[in-house]
């Protein structure tokens, strides 16, 4: 187990390098000049421009820039922004907000997705199942931001149940609407996966055995079907928590939530490449860690892959 974990952590290094390289290259290629963005397109004296470019190593070759950056990352140094603040501090300051949003959304999604999926799986082909199918298709088909804007206008502006934007109300009230939007968006996929997996398991030979043993339907479902049906779902759930962080970035912008999403958007607008790369690198890192956690906990539910 320990050896496996260490090996997996070492395997993360090349993945992290590859991912950050791509992100770094993309930011490097971002159109526009960071310095003119910084000054609001007003011309600066040539000497000042030179000085800034030098301070931020903007004239070094790409590979040197990337190399310096990645060496810093491994030391926990994500660079500084144009105002001299460490990027890591900026991110860490806002990360709790994003985590709160993503985690709330994830728990809601877990509940909604599992309930709909299990219900559809048990009532396969009946009206409840058809309803669940329509529901999932609807939420999978409509783009997330449309649902977000719609919910914001209706519940926030028209009905006034919650603030349409901002986090003045604190957790949970300020988070409930954006989290619900994210949850429903993502629950559709979870519901489908759960349903498919359960339908598959219900056909399994060992459920026939359970019936031959004279077990009650309830015992057959709870004791024998659901845990097996959850095996593929667990992988998905773990990774989706990481995915939720990515989803939060978009939702935060719409609901004006001061998490890393807002930071990301403003940094892109200001051509602050270091911050963009920093956030992306951190998200990749979180994703990899979750992936590892999923693999390590997988054996708890499926003894066949126990390490």
């Amino acid at each position: 187990m320990l050896g496996y974990t260490v090996r997996r952590i070492l395997q993360m290094i090349p993945v992290l390098l590859g991912a950050t390289f791509i992100i770094y290259a993309l930011t490097f290629l971002m159109p526009g000049d960071p310095i003119s963005a910084l000054t609001g397109e007003r011309p600066l004296p040539e000497a000042t421009v030179m000085q800034i470019r030098q301070a931020y190593h903007l004239d070094d070759p790409f590979f040197v820039q990337y190399g310096n950056y990645i060496l810093g990352v491994f030391r926990g140094d994500f660079g500084i922004d144009f105002f001299g603040r460490p990027v890591l501090d900026l991110i860490l300051e806002r990360l709790p907000v994003t985590f709160a949003l993503a985690l709330t959304a994830w728990v809601l999604k877990l509940f909604i997705g599992l309930v709909i999926g299990v219900y559809g799986g048990l009532r396969r082909g009946q009206s409840g199942d058809h309803f669940a199918l329509v529901f999932t298709v609807l939420f999978m088909g409509v783009p997330g931001f449309v649902i977000a804007l719609g919910a914001q206008t209706y519940f926030g502006v028209h009905l006034g149940w919650v603030d349409p934007a901002g986090i003045r109300a604190g957790w949970p009230m300020a988070f409930i609407l954006p989290a619900l939007v994210m949850a429903f968006e993502a629950a559709a996929g979870l519901a489908r996966l759960t349903r498919t997996s359960l339908v598959e398991v219900l056909r399994a030979e060992y459920l026939r055995t359970a019936k031959a043993k004279g077990l009650s339907p309830r015992r057959i479902i709870w004791g024998h079907a659901l845990r097996n049906a959850m095996i593929p779902v667990v992988t998905y759930l773990g990774l989706s928590l990481a995915g939720m962080l990515g989803g939060a970035v978009i939702i935060e912008a719409i609901f004006n939530i001061p998490g890393i999403g807002g930071l990301m958007v403003s940094s892109i607008n200001n051509k602050e490449g270091t911050i963009v790369v920093g956030i992306a690198t951190l998200l990749v890192l979180v994703y990899l860690v979750f992936n590892l956690l999923v693999d390590l906990t997988y054996g708890l539910i499926d003894p066949r892959v126990r390490i």
Binding site: A204, E205, Y206, R208, T209, A210, K211, A212, K213, G214, L215, S216, R219, G223, H224, R227, N228, I231, I301, D302, P303, R304
Partner: protein, 334 residues
């Protein structure tokens, strides 16, 4: 059927059982009037080519058919006089495993992959007899000992995938025998195993059957197994029993052309262990059964009567029945 005394009180009696499947193409008549009878402590072999309805019969007895697509359209299954097709779901659950149990073909898929084997055996004692977890575990270890799993106590918490194929099938047998059922149905219990293990599993099954005076129904493609293990044999064709009787007699002097086709080609010792021989032609379409004898299309004795009338399963000698208009001729040429 058999002697007057035995026939009065059989363990299992199936009367005119009929099962249909709703399929895309139409209604398939999988079981088309099956009659069977089995005495306590006896072993009955069921032979028949693929698709003849052996597994559907077994599953109907166990109440394991998926309805739909399956539908029992007629008949009775009397276990100790109680009609299994008429009992309430609750009574059905009481009887399953406690009175009638089943050993499945593929032990790996028959066992739940995420539960330790001891728990899967122990569950029977928990549910049917209200044992505590500790008692159930103890009983499970005893069962594992009884089917001769080495060092059972140390393996009780292992998972199905940690056992070899033969040991897994022993676990499935332990589960089937746990509540001392009166009737055990084994549907091709050794097909998934290699030859040396097959013999051990069969030995275990017969030994347990004799020791516990259980009725055993053994479904197989292997005539030599039927010969060695069973007292009675029933031959199925297109959802009907076409011949039954004492195993040795039926296999040495078949009275039905289909049985003769099966038996003659494995008469010699070299062919021992081989699966059922292929008989020229193919079974009838279950969606569209012929008006007369279902075997007519492949039978060299078929005549006008065979094409229009369905032969009944008639007594042709003591304890022997066959469904063929020309059985005397078949017997004469044996």
């Amino acid at each position: 059927m058999s002697t007057a005394h035995e026939a009065a009180n059989p363990l299992l009696e199936i009367k005119d059982l009929r099962v249909e499947f709703a399929t895309r193409q139409g209604v398939a008549t999988a079981i088309n009037g099956v009659d069977l009878s089995l005495q306590r402590g006896r072993a009955l072999g069921i032979l028949g080519e693929s698709g003849s309805g052996k597994s559907v019969t077994a599953r109907t007895i166990m109440g394991l058919l998926d309805t739909p697509p399956a539908k029992v359209t007629g008949g009775q299954i009397l276990l100790d006089g109680e009609d299994l097709l008429a009992v309430t779901p609750k009574r059905r659950r009481e009887l399953n495993s406690a009175s009638v149990a089943m050993v499945f073909q593929d032990a790996l898929s028959a066992l739940n992959p995420v539960h330790p084997v001891g728990r899967q055996i122990g569950e029977l004692y928990r549910v049917h007899r209200g044992y505590s977890p500790a008692e159930a575990k103890k009983a499970a270890i005893q069962m594992m000992d009884r089917v001769r799993i080495p060092v059972a106590a140390s393996r009780v918490n292992d998972y199905p995938h940690q056992f070899s194929g033969g040991m897994r099938q022993r676990i499935v047998i332990a589960m089937a025998l746990a509540l001392d059922p009166q009737l055990l149905i084994a549907d091709e219990p050794t097909t998934a195993l290699d030859v040396t293990v097959q013999a051990q599993i069969l030995e275990l099954l017969t030994e347990q059957q004799v020791e516990n005076n259980m009725g055993l129904i053994l479904i197989t493609h292997d005539i030599s197994v039927v010969r060695e293990v069973t007292d009675q044999v029933a031959v199925m064709y297109a959802g009907r029993i076409v011949e039954n009787g004492p195993t040795a007699q039926v296999l040495s002097e078949p009275a039905h052309p289909y049985t003769r086709g099966l038996a003659s080609s494995v008469a010699s010792e070299e062919l021992k262990g081989q699966l059922l021989p292929a008989i020229p032609g193919s079974p009838p379409d279950l969606l569209n059964l012929p008006a007369g004898c279902a075997f007519a299309g492949r039978c060299h004795l078929a005549n006008q009567q065979c094409a229009t009338e369905v032969p009944e399963l008639d007594e042709i000698a003591a304890q022997r029945h066959t469904a063929c208009f020309n059985s005397q001729e078949v017997l004469a040429h044996a």
